[in-house]
């Protein structure tokens, strides 16, 4: 009906002015009166028993106000996953054992960092060193050092298994029998870090009234409150996590981190605010990175490219504790089964404890690893069968309304359009078809494609987003949300939705966000559900306000509700704009005539409202999401056959994102993901040796700079629409596009020079080896 004024528009960020003027206050900027500096003592051993910790000398250092060890804690474990099958497995400070180099053993609060570090150096820890293991495939074999007892429900003759996911349908053996062509390949993805610019940081202030105030650089305050309260033995109502701007997260700031616990406990011990900021080096050496993964995939196809069976085995290297290891082996199953029809599928994934630092989600959480494997292999199969990469993808792509074997419905699915549109846009077939014999000279170009699908919101604590929209006396509104803007622009899109529902200038929507005490609960900005789940909650809250305004307006104007039009902070009767009331007047009338109702709306949303729980991590049973986004991405690369250097010249992303709420921000997400994938493909690698990080700095860990920029174009495949007053189903845009592009790059390199790469990163050295320029 009416045209959209705010949703779908390139609205500038609400927080932009604060950020370009340096006024935005991040956690690292918070300076409270009497604030102490906290520092953490870490284990130099990959695996050891703690026999004794002597803090007496540390306490004598002038300026030191408190020293804590595991003995000062309640010994309550926590974990990224805390379920009956996967109970918490990590103490906030090591108690009996350390399981990786860098594990937190003690913490100090002092008046300055010199005193704090001096005290750390005087804490004497007596360890009994234990044998350690770092490679997951070695760690699984019986006889390997035991890091934790293997999961009791995994009955195979394996050790150090933190968890296993096993799933499937149909009969893969029969499928492979029926297939015309079968191949099996192994792909490995390496260790990378998130690379957020703001380091991990927390300020905790325990007040005289027993309230613990916490500012922490995170991806949502509610999970932090829950885990802090639990591990500190405080009621949730005594812990308040407040908003500060967040300088990037990318999956690395979700779970409870020990520095957060330590800042809080040190503040409780000293009754003074305590700040802990991780050094960049600590983040590189001892904090959580993404998930290195081994993916073995066996695929059987018919001559025409139809997939008949696929079997997967994945192994993650989870580090000393479970972290998100048992989640990623579940998720990669989902990323394997979502884009293509697989009539017969068998999947097993193992999360393996090793004596490495813990792993966490990282943008895409397993999708790049899985799509790199599947999409690389699909190109090999297509080449073998003489089918084009486009056709084999179209042949197997899911279509609208398709039910997935887990009971999910893909609803409106634009995957085929993504593939068709991108092929046309890039002139794929012609470029791909240039034979390698025609490609001569030092620099050789190639093009490749990949496909991916990503979920938007699932059921993970707290499972719900609620939003409050309050009218103010002047007719402007205040929006209260627990959602935290980590740079992705959540506050701006929520404002757009409220502005649209209420037809109010976006400048007159004020946001109050991410404060556990004053804003309603929110799912957090880490399962790609903000635009859909929190967005719909905001829409409902604004709708509540809209209904109230409408009721009063209908009464006062003596009009039918259906005939009322909202525009520019006024309500008028259709065709009679002179008969109108301003929001300011309506609020006053509501208070006067509706027993003081000051017009407050609330809304809430839960994805898959009929599902009680998240699907089983062990069996994948139960629904996963109701919101699949799809994309196809192409990469055009240029290989320097002398140096082995590969440049990503152009990335194109054709995506079914439902509809873009803010196209400007969507572009920012796409570009950022292309760049992150470019880093994954060519540049970034955490180099580790026996649990120690060799390159713990941005100098030696090479994140892309502006000199490595790739052209990034995009094609929107619109499959949903926004209508005022109605629920919508937009899809995620923040994580899905780090994946297909990775495979597209690998496929483009093959197209350019005939070098097939089975492991990331695609270094010049590997290219030169592939070209047989070096042995």
């Amino acid at each position: 009906m009416s045209e959209l004024d705010y949703v779908g528009k390139r609205i500038l960020r609400k927080d932009g002015p604060d950020k370009v003027t340096g006024k935005a206050i991040y956690t690292v900027d918070i300076q409270l009166k009497g604030q102490l500096v906290g520092r953490i003592l870490r284990s130099p051993h990959a695996h050891a028993r703690i026999l004794d910790i002597d803090i007496s000398l540390a306490l004598e250092v002038p300026g030191v106000k408190a020293v804590i060890t595991g003995k000062d804690t309640l010994g309550i474990k926590h974990g990224f996953v805390e379920t009956p099958r996967y109970p918490a497995d990590q103490y906030p400070l090591a108690m009996d054992k350390v399981r990786f180099i860098g594990e937190e053993v003690a913490a100090v609060a002092a008046t300055d960092v010199y005193a704090a570090d001096k005290a750390l150096s005087l804490i004497k820890v007596t360890y009994e060193s234990l044998p350690a293991v770092f490679d997951p495939e070695e760690a699984m074999i019986p006889g390997a050092p035991e890091i934790h007892p293997s999961h009791p429900k995994v009955k195979e003759d394996l050790v150090n298994i933190g968890g296993k996911t096993a799933s499937g349908w149909g009969d893969v053996e029969a499928g492979f029998q029926e297939a015309d062509y079968v191949r099996e390949d192994r792909f490995e993805s390496h260790l990378r870090t998130h690379g957020f610019l703001e380091p991990h940081a927390t300020v905790a202030s325990f007040e005289a009234d027993g309230k613990l105030n916490v500012w922490t650089s995170s991806q949502g305050p509610f999970i932090k409150r829950a885990k802090l309260a639990k591990t500190l033995g405080l009621p949730q109502s005594s812990v308040r996590v407040k908003k500060a701007y967040v300088g990037g997260a990318f999956g690395g700031k979700i779970d409870l981190y020990t520095h957060e616990f330590c800042a809080a406990l040190l503040s409780m011990k000293t009754s003074r605010p305590v700040e802990i900021i991780a050094t960049r080096e600590e983040i590189f050496t001892a904090y959580r990175h993404g998930q290195p993964m081994i993916v073995t995939v066996k695929t059987g196809v018919k001559k025409d490219g139809t997939i008949v069976a696929q079997e997967f085995k994945t192994i993650n290297n989870s580090g000393g504790y479970r972290g998100s290891g048992v989640v990623v082996i579940f998720l990669v199953w989902g990323f394997a089964m979502a884009p293509y029809r697989i009539p017969n599928m068998k999947y097993k994934g193992y999360s393996v404890y090793t004596n490495n630092p813990i792993r966490s989600p990282q943008r895409g959480h397993g999708a790049p690893q899985m799509r790199f494997a599947v999409e690389s292999q699909l190109d090999m199969i297509a080449a073998e069968l003489g089918i084009s990469p486009i056709d084999i993808r179209l042949k197997n792509a899911r279509v609208s309304g398709e039910m997935l074997p887990n009971g999910d419905n893909v609803h409106n699915c634009g995957l085929k359009d993504c593939v068709l549109d991108i092929a046309k846009h890039t002139d794929f077939t012609a470029k791909f078809g240039i034979s390698r014999t025609e490609k001569q000279g030092r620099y050789r170009k190639g093009i490749g494609i990949g496909v991916s699908a990503y979920f938007g919101g699932s059921l993970i604590y707290p499972n719900s987003s609620s939003v409050i929209v309050k009218m103010n006396d002047d007719g402007s509104v205040s929006l209260l949300t627990g959602s935290l803007d980590i740079g992705q622009g959540s506050e701006t899109i929520l404002c757009q939705i409220v502005a649209e529902e209420l037809k109010i200038p976006i400048e007159e929507v004020q946001v109050f966000a991410a404060d556990t005490e004053t804003t309603p609960v929110d799912i957090g900005v880490w399962i790609s559900g903000n635009a859909y789940v929190t967005g719909n909650a905001a829409r409902e809250a604004a709708g509540d306000v809209r209904r109230k305004l409408m009721t009063i307006a209908a009464e006062e104007l003596n009009a039918d509700i259906e005939n009322l039009i909202f525009q520019n902070k006024r309500v008028y009767i259709s065709g009679q704009p002179e008969r109108s009331l301003s929001y300011e007047e309506l609020v006053a009338l509501s208070i006067q005539k509706h027993r003081g109702d000051s017009v407050i709306g609330n809304g809430h949303w839960r994805t898959m409202r009929d599902e009680p729980f998240h699907p089983s991590l062990a069996t994948t049973k139960g629904r996963w999401t109701e919101n699949y986004a799809f994309d196809a991405q192409t990469a055009e690369v240029e290989v320097d056959t002398e140096t082995g250097n590969v440049r990503l010249l152009k990335a194109v992303t054709a995506h079914d994102c439902g509809f873009p709420i803010n196209p400007l921000q969507v572009e920012g997400q796409i570009d950022g993901q292309v760049s992150m994938a470019l880093g994954h493909a060519f540049m970034e690698e955490i180099m580790m040796e026996k649990g120690r990080t060799l390159n713990p700095s941005w100098l030696d860990y090479r994140m892309p700079s502006i000199c490595n920029i790739a052209d990034s174009e995009h094609i929107d495949v619109i499959t949903e629409r926004y209508q005022v007053g109605k629920p919508y189903r937009t899809k995620e845009v923040g994580e899905g596009y780090v994946s297909a592009i990775l495979a597209a790059i690998a496929n483009a390199i093959y197209n350019a020079v005939g070098v097939r790469l089975f492991s990331t990163p695609f270094t010049p050295e590997k290219i030169l080896k592939g070209l047989e320029k070096i042995k």
Binding site: V20, G22, G487, G672, S705
Partner: protein, 163 residues
């Protein structure tokens, strides 16, 4: 060495205001801006000169405040992000930054703004390569740099239109 030499009284001119401060020798300009003057717009992303977040202009030239001793900035002119917009009016660089969607998390933004301001002062119509040369030391994880590139071109245009 006497202990008095560890601490020096220095005059610092930051954003055209002069401060008299007692500063220890080892304190960096970044420490003093953030901790003593409360100018927290200048960020510490690494502290070892690898990310560009702490860039300020010293005598008009972009430098890394994390690798500069405060005592060595005595009587020199320092400009930080807080001094860029006067009375709330954004500079063309800041405006372009917003308009082109070059801000996401914002942590690299102050350094990017200052480095671009310096670039456009030296070179009113920079090429892609010129921008790479000037902003090559500024890591940004959010944007992929595409909109960073766009905003500098746009700021150059705004500057030219203004003059």
């Amino acid at each position: 060495m006497t202990t008095t030499q560890r601490k020096k009284i220095i005059g610092l001119t930051v954003n055209e205001e002069t401060y008299e401060l007692a500063v220890e020798c080892q304190e960096t300009l970044l420490d003093v801006l953030r901790n003593n003057l409360g100018l927290t717009g200048t960020k510490e992303g690494c502290g070892t000169g690898e990310c560009g977040s702490c860039t300020v202009l010293l005598e008009g030239e972009p430098i890394l405040a994390c690798l500069m001793l405060a005592v060595e900035c005595e009587n020199k002119k320092i400009e930080t992000i807080e001094g860029q917009s006067i009375n709330g009016d954004l500079t063309p660089v800041q405006e372009a930054f917003l308009e082109k969607g070059a801000v996401q998390c914002g942590f690299c933004t102050p350094g990017m703004v200052l480095a671009s301001t310096d670039l456009l002062k030296r070179n009113p119509d920079p090429s892609k390569e010129d921008i790479m040369e000037s902003l090559g030391g500024h890591l940004c994880r959010c944007t992929g740099y595409n909109k960073i590139m766009e905003f500098v071109h746009h700021a150059a245009k705004l500057n030219r239109d203004n003059t």
